[in-house]
Amino acid sequence: MHAKSERPTRHRRSRSSRRRNLTAYLLLLPGLIFYVPFHFVPILSVFFFSLFKWKGYSFATMKWNGLDNYLALTNDRFFWGALRNNIKFVILVVVVQTVFALALALILEQKFHLSTFFRGVYFMPTVLSLVVVGILFSLLLSPSQGLVNMILRNIGLENVQPVWLGDPTLAFYVLVFVHIWKDFGLSMFIFIAGLEAIPEELFDAAKVDGASPWDVIWRIIIPLLRETTTAVAVLITVTCFKLFDLVIVMTGGGPFFATEVLSVRMYFQAFKHSRMGYGSAYAMVLFLITFVVSSFQFWLRGRGEEIEY
């Protein structure tokens, strides 16, 4: 992981090495010209912006108000609602998707007829856009014309015709389902890679010892996959906090704010109510959360649990 010098030090001050220094900076320049102003500076300035009362987009309307935006956040029940939705979403998706992906990986890691085909298809939703997926499922779940309710009618459940995206509780679980539908293939492949790294001998030994499948799963596979599982869970957590497209496309945060999450609220504060300062405070909360999750991941890697695929 660490940049190590590959050239002996005695060359360091030679002419050719100075020229190489220059080449290095020249080759880095195009990237940094974009990275610094459009990626790095914005991350810094969002904290700065969050310290202002700022209505509209012109600098003239900025008024310093210190930490007031953050105080306002703590009194904003919609902020807490969005945060609660975020956390509920993360927990549900992490648990369900990890278990589901692991189960499928255990099955599909083995070669059997059509197993490669299954794998290939399961991964396909990952390449689709969330806008396509969101609209597609909105059509499928449309109360009167949608396929899902039609199936319910056909199997004799004429009375069970939920308004999927119009019901606060259901809408939330629909988003959870659609998110997992799109994303589980990726987790599954990470698990498959982890499984393939387990040495063959362990399975032979288990067989010789007469271990039951259950024993093999619980005493060999699960413990050995601990690091992979952590990696998958962290990855899902980060992806979940990026939840935005699906909400905008499918529910717009509704019904009754049931599916509003931090990123969506931030967007609405900034671009619907043009409250840039307050929106930036939301962005800072998002930043802090992802920062904590990423640090956790780095800390794991730093402990020598780096997994290479």
Binding site: R7, V131, V132
Partner: protein
């Protein structure tokens, strides 16, 4: 090394029903979309499960022309192609530098650049909007290019690891033979790190083609709509017309899906790498 080893301990009989069930849940919505796009709207609603009785491309023509989806499709192609070209160029150059050259501030610059991956794009969205607003780049693809050219952390990281596997001796030999610094990079090292180009091209293709948040924020003029924006507009205006709607959805999905079925291995590799490193 994939083997039948788990079968030594796990019974087979449960696999097929479970795998088929998941297959239906995953593939059927997409299949329904593709088949429905070949039906007329009344047929989509009346016979949702059947194959198209009279397959027609009418929906595609209607979406492409009447709903101006063609314009959006071409816009997306332009944005995606230009952005990928720029990202590849930036990532290869920087990746090479970080892997093979020594200079003052190398470690700092590398981690400085890498840190960009740690922060979700939403966080910097508001300042980005302000910057482009001040530069009068709202409603201008330059804003998208600037933002995409700045999202190179993952590309740099991947190219660096590919260039690290190129033996330094080969580069030294090229230099001794009189190759210029740039020539060593372009003609000797780059061809040996081709694999990395595929990985990042695929990863960024999926990200750029499907991106929604940046176009939504930086573009207002419908003439500049990318595919994602056009789909949203389409849904609001043509809500009842499911035929053309499904055709538009299919057109938006076909480029990544077709590429995926041709380059499955590279896709899975690129996307898992992106997920784990990014």
């Amino acid at each position: 090394m994939r083997s039948k080893r788990l079968r030594k301990v796990l019974p087979l009989f449960l696999y097929y029903p479970l795998c088929l069930l998941v297959l239906v849940i995953v593939a059927y919505p997409v299949l329904w979309m593709l088949l429905g796009s070949l039906k007329e709207t009344w047929e989509v609603l009346a016979h949702p499960f059947s194959l198209p009785l009279h397959p027609t491309l009418k929906n595609y023509a209607e979406a492409w022309q009447v709903a101006k989806f063609g314009r959006a499709f071409l816009n997306s192609v332009i944005v995606t192609v230009v952005s990928i070209a720029g990202i590849l160029l930036i990532s290869t150059m920087a990746g090479y530098v970080f892997a093979k050259l020594n200079f003052v501030g190398k470690t700092f610059l590398f981690y400085f650049w890498l840190a960009g991956m740690m922060v979700p794009p939403h966080v910097s969205l508001l300042p980005n909007f302000i910057i482009f607003d001040r530069l009068h780049l709202i409603d201008n693809y330059l804003s998208l290019f600037c933002i995409y050219f700045s999202s190179t952390s993952f590309g740099v990281f991947i190219m660096r690891s590919f260039f690290m596997s190129v033996p330094t001796e080969i580069l030294e030999a090229a230099r001794i033979d009189g190759c210029s610094e740039f020539g060593t990079f372009w003609r000797v090292a780059l061809p040996l790190a081709r694999g990395g180009l595929t990985v990042i091209a695929i990863f960024y293709f999926v990200f750029l083609w499907n991106d929604f948040m940046y176009p939504l924020t930086f573009l207002r003029n419908p003439a500049l709509n990318t595919v994602s924006l056009a789909l949203m507009a389409f849904r609001d205006i043509w809500a009842a017309d499911w035929g053309p709607m499904l055709a538009a959805l299919s057109m938006a999905s076909l480029p990544p899906v077709i590429f995926y079925f041709f380059f499955q291995k590279q896709f899975i590799r690129g996307m898992t790498a992106g997920a784990l490193k990014g």
